[in-house]
C-alpha cells in the first residue's frame, strides 16, 4: 500500500513536469525516478501488412540472422538462410566432450570433457534487462538458471599484494567500505565537510556510514563481531560448548589501496553485470539450437559467401559450398538481411553505397580468449567453498570462473581457467599454440588454486581472432567511428540491410544482435509494404 501511494504521487509529479517542461524533461525525470524502460525491447515484433510473398535472403545463422528469419517468415516472407559453419548458432556456441574445433592456422583440438561438462567459448551470461533475449528464451522454451557474477567467497588476487595470497571478495569489499566509511566519518566529525554538507545531513551521513561500513559506536572500523558479520570471522559461529565466534582483523587502508584489489569491485557494479544474471541450462547453445529447430529446412550450412550484388530488382549472392568448394553457386531474393561480421564483410565484393562501405571498413575486431579446464574433482567447492561466480587476478589469465551448475557433486568438474578480453595478454595468448594456452592457464591458475597441478586432466582453448567464422570476438567501435559511421551502417542500402551485435549499441552482447535484427526487419518491412 505504501508503495502504491508513492507511485501515485510520482505519477502526479511526472504529469506536472510533462505539462510544464515538455516531454524531454519528463523523460529525464522518469529516468531519475526509476520509471523509464530498462530495455528498448517492445515485446514480440508485429510486422503488419502483406509482404506479397516477397523473398528475403538472410546471411548468417547466428542469433541476429535467426531472429530475422523467424520473424520474417512469420510475417509471410519466403526466407532462406545461408550459414558458413556446419551448424547454426554462430557465436552462441558450447563445447562439450567429443567436439572438435579447428582454428585458423589449422590446429585442431578435440574437447575431452566428461559427459555433461562444457564451456561456452562465446557469450556465457544474460543480464536480467536483456529482455529481448529473455523473451525468445521463454517463447522457445529454453530453461534458464542463475549465473553468479558475484560470489562473495571467490577470490581477488594480486601478484604483489598480501604475499600473493588470494583474498576473499567478501573481505576486500567489506574492508574497502569500512575503511572509506571510517575516513569519511572522521572528516565529517572534524568539521571538514561543513561547507559541503549541512549539520542536519551530517547526522544522517554518520548514521549511514556506520550502517554501510560496519563501524563501531566511535565510527571506527576494527576487529569486532559487527565488522566480522561483513568480512567473515577468524572463527565462525558454531554449536555447543565452544560456539562463540572470534572476530577477524580488517586489512589496513594503506595495504588495501596499494593492493589495487579495489579495481575488481566494479565488476559487480556495472549495469550489465548486476544481479540477476542467467545462463541456459546445459549450455549457451541451447538457445541457438532452439532457434534452429524452428527454422528447420530453411538454413543451409557449409556456405561461404564470396560476393553480394544488388540491382533495382533484387539481390544476388554468390557462394561456394565448403564441402565441395569447386562449384560456385548463386542465390537470389528480393531483399537481403546480412549478419556477416564486418571483419569478413569488409573483405567481400559488395554492392552498397560508399558511405555504408566506409562504415563496414571502420570497425576493428576485438580479441578474446577463453580456456576451459577439466579437473578430477570440484576442489573449488570441496576445499574452498566457492560455488559458482568468478575470481579475478592480475595474472594474464585475468579470471577464473566456476561452473554455475552441478553444485556440490563428487566427481569431475570444468571451470573457465582464463577469460581475456582485449589488451596485450589477449594477443599474447592468441599467438600461442592451443596446447600452450592450456598449459599456461594451468600454470598461472595454480597461484590461486594450488590444487590445479594435481587435479588437472585436460583443457580446450578458444582464441577469437583465430575463429574461422568471425576473425575476432566482436566489433570494437571507437567513439569517433560510431559518430562518423554508425548511422550509415544501419541504413537500408537499396535492398540490403545489415544486422548483428556490430549494428547495435550493445557490442558483444546477444541482446545487441537480436535488437539490431528486430530494428532492421521492422524498417525493411515498412519499406516492403509501402512499395
Amino acid at each position: 500500500m505504501h508503495d502504491e501511494a508513492a507511485g501515485v504521487r510520482r505519477r502526479d509529479l511526472l504529469s506536472l513536469i510533462g505539462a510544464v517542461a515538455g516531454s524531454a524533461a519528463m523523460y529525464h525525470a522518469m529516468t531519475s525516478l526509476g520509471f523509464a524502460s530498462e530495455s528498448r525491447y517492445q515485446g514480440p515484433v508485429k510486422l503488419e501488412g502483406d509482404p506479397k510473398s516477397a523473398s528475403v535472403l538472410v546471411l548468417g545463422a547466428g542469433l541476429a540472422g535467426m531472429t530475422a528469419a523467424l520473424e520474417l517468415r512469420k510475417a509471410g516472407y519466403q526466407v532462406q538462410v545461408l550459414e558458413f559453419n556446419n551448424r547454426a548458432g554462430g557465436r552462441n556456441w558450447t563445447l562439450r566432450g567429443g567436439d572438435r574445433f579447428t582454428e585458423l592456422g589449422g590446429a585442431t583440438q578435440t574437447c575431452e570433457f566428461a559427459e555433461g561438462l562444457y564451456i561456452n567459448p562465446g557469450p556465457w551470461r544474460i543480464p536480467y534487462h536483456h529482455r529481448a533475449l529473455l523473451d525468445y528464451c521463454r517463447r522457445l522454451n529454453v530453461a534458464l538458471e542463475p549465473f553468479n557474477q558475484l560470489n562473495h567467497n571467490a577470490f581477488l588476487h594480486a601478484t604483489r599484494a598480501f604475499g600473493g595470497t588470494p583474498q576473499r571478495i567478501r573481505a576486500v569489499k567489506a574492508d574497502f567500505q569500512g575503511q572509506v566509511s571510517e575516513l569519511l566519518a572522521k572528516a565529517t566529525r572534524q568539521g571538514r565537510l561543513d561547507e559541503a554538507v549541512t549539520k542536519e545531513d551530517q547526522e544522517v551521513l554518520l548514521e549511514a556510514l556506520r550502517s554501510w561500513g560496519a563501524l563501531d559506536r566511535n565510527y571506527s572500523y576494527n576487529a569486532n563481531l559487527a565488522s566480522s558479520e561483513f568480512r567473515g570471522y577468524a572463527s565462525a559461529p558454531g554449536g555447543g560448548l565452544a560456539a562463540m565466534p572470534v572476530p577477524s582483523d580488517p586489512v589496513a587502508l594503506s595495504d588495501l589501496l596499494k593492493s589495487r584489489l579495489w579495481r575488481y569491485l566494479q565488476n559487480f557494479a556495472h549495469y550489465n553485470f548486476q544481479t540477476t544474471m542467467f545462463q541456459p541450462v546445459g549450455g549457451m547453445d541451447t538457445i541457438g539450437k532452439a532457434f534452429a529447430k524452428e527454422l528447420d529446412g530453411i538454413i543451409r550450412c557449409n556456405v561461404k559467401v564470396t560476393k553480394i550484388e544488388q540491382s533495382g530488382r533484387g539481390v544476388t549472392v554468390t557462394f561456394v559450398d565448403t564441402t565441395r568448394s569447386s562449384i560456385v553457386e548463386t542465390a537470389t531474393a528480393d531483399w537481403c538481411v546480412c549478419t556477416i561480421p564486418l571483419s569478413i564483410l569488409s573483405q567481400l565484393p559488395l554492392d552498397v553505397s560508399p558511405a555504408m562501405k566506409a562504415a563496414i571498413d571502420a570497425v576493428p575486431y576485438a580479441g578474446s580468449v577463453k580456456i576451459g579446464l577439466q579437473f578430477k574433482r570440484r576442489f573449488w567447492e570441496e576445499d574452498d567453498a566457492i560455488y559458482g561466480g568468478i575470481s579475478y587476478t592480475d595474472l594474464p589469465i585475468r579470471q577464473i570462473a566456476y561452473p554455475n551448475t552441478g553444485y556440490n557433486r563428487t566427481g569431475r568438474g570444468v571451470l573457465l581457467g582464463a577469460y581475456l578480453f582485449d589488451g596485450a595478454n589477449c594477443y599474447e595468448f592468441t599467438a600461442m599454440p592451443p596446447e600452450e594456452r592450456v598449459a599456461r592457464a594451468v600454470e598461472f591458475g595454480a597461484a590461486l588454486h594450488p590444487q590445479y597441478k594435481r587435479e588437472f586432466e585436460n583443457g580446450i582453448a578458444v582464441a577469437w581472432h583465430r575463429v574461422p567464422f568471425t576473425l575476432g570476438c566482436s566489433g570494437d567501435w571507437s567513439e569517433q567511428a560510431r559518430k562518423q559511421h554508425y548511422a550509415n551502417l544501419c541504413q537500408i542500402d537499396g535492398r540490403i540491410v545489415l544486422a548483428g551485435e556490430h549494428a547495435s549499441a550493445l557490442p558483444a552482447w546477444q541482446e545487441g544482435a537480436i535488437l539490431s535484427a528486430l530494428d532492421a526487419i521492422t524498417r525493411l518491412h515498412q519499406r516492403v509494404v509501402k512499395a
Binding site: 558458413f84 575431452e112 564486418l342 573483405q347 576493428p364 599474447e428 596446447e435 586432466e457 575463429v467
Partner: protein, 136 residues
C-alpha cells in the same frame, strides 16, 4: 613430447612447461607476458611471435576461413616501409590499431623484422623517428 600434442595429462603438462621454460629455439623460447595494456616485448622477433603471429601465423602466410588474414610473406606491399608502419599504428578494416599499445621503437622493430624475414628482403631501416612522424 612436443607442443603439438593434444590432451595433456598432468605428466604431459609438466613436460610441456619444462620445455617452455627452457628455450629450445627462438620461437618456442621463454614466453614474455605484458603486465598492462601496452606490450613489453621490445625485439622485432618477439613482437612478431607474441602479437602478429596470432593472426598472420608463424610462417607469416596468414590463414583463411569465412574471411582471410593476408600473407605477409614475400609481400611486395612491404617495399614501402611507410605502409606497414601506418597499418600497425592506425589499423585497417578489422585489424585493430596498435598505436596505443606499442611505442615508436616497438613499431619500428617489428616492421624491420617483417621486412627482413619471411621472404622479404628490404635493406632500408625504419627508425623510431619515422614512426613518430607517421603518427602525425
Amino acid at each position: 613430447m612436443t607442443l603439438r600434442e593434444r590432451n595433456l595429462s598432468a605428466a604431459g603438462l609438466a613436460a610441456v612447461l619444462a620445455l617452455i621454460a627452457t628455450p629450445v629455439s627462438a620461437q618456442e623460447g621463454q614466453r614474455t607476458f605484458s603486465s598492462g595494456y601496452r606490450f613489453v616485448e621490445m625485439s622485432g622477433e618477439e613482437l612478431y611471435n607474441n602479437i602478429c603471429r596470432g593472426c598472420h601465423m608463424g610462417d607469416a602466410k596468414g590463414a583463411g576461413g569465412a574471411g582471410a588474414y593476408p600473407s605477409l610473406a614475400a609481400n611486395p606491399n612491404l617495399e614501402s616501409a611507410g605502409y606497414p608502419v601506418t597499418l600497425i599504428v592506425r589499423g585497417r578494416k578489422a585489424m585493430p590499431p596498435f598505436g596505443d599499445m606499442m611505442n615508436d621503437a616497438q613499431v619500428a622493430a617489428v616492421v624491420n623484422y617483417l621486412r627482413t624475414h619471411f621472404g622479404n628482403n628490404y635493406g632500408d631501416v625504419v627508425t623510431a623517428q619515422d614512426v613518430s612522424d607517421a603518427r602525425r
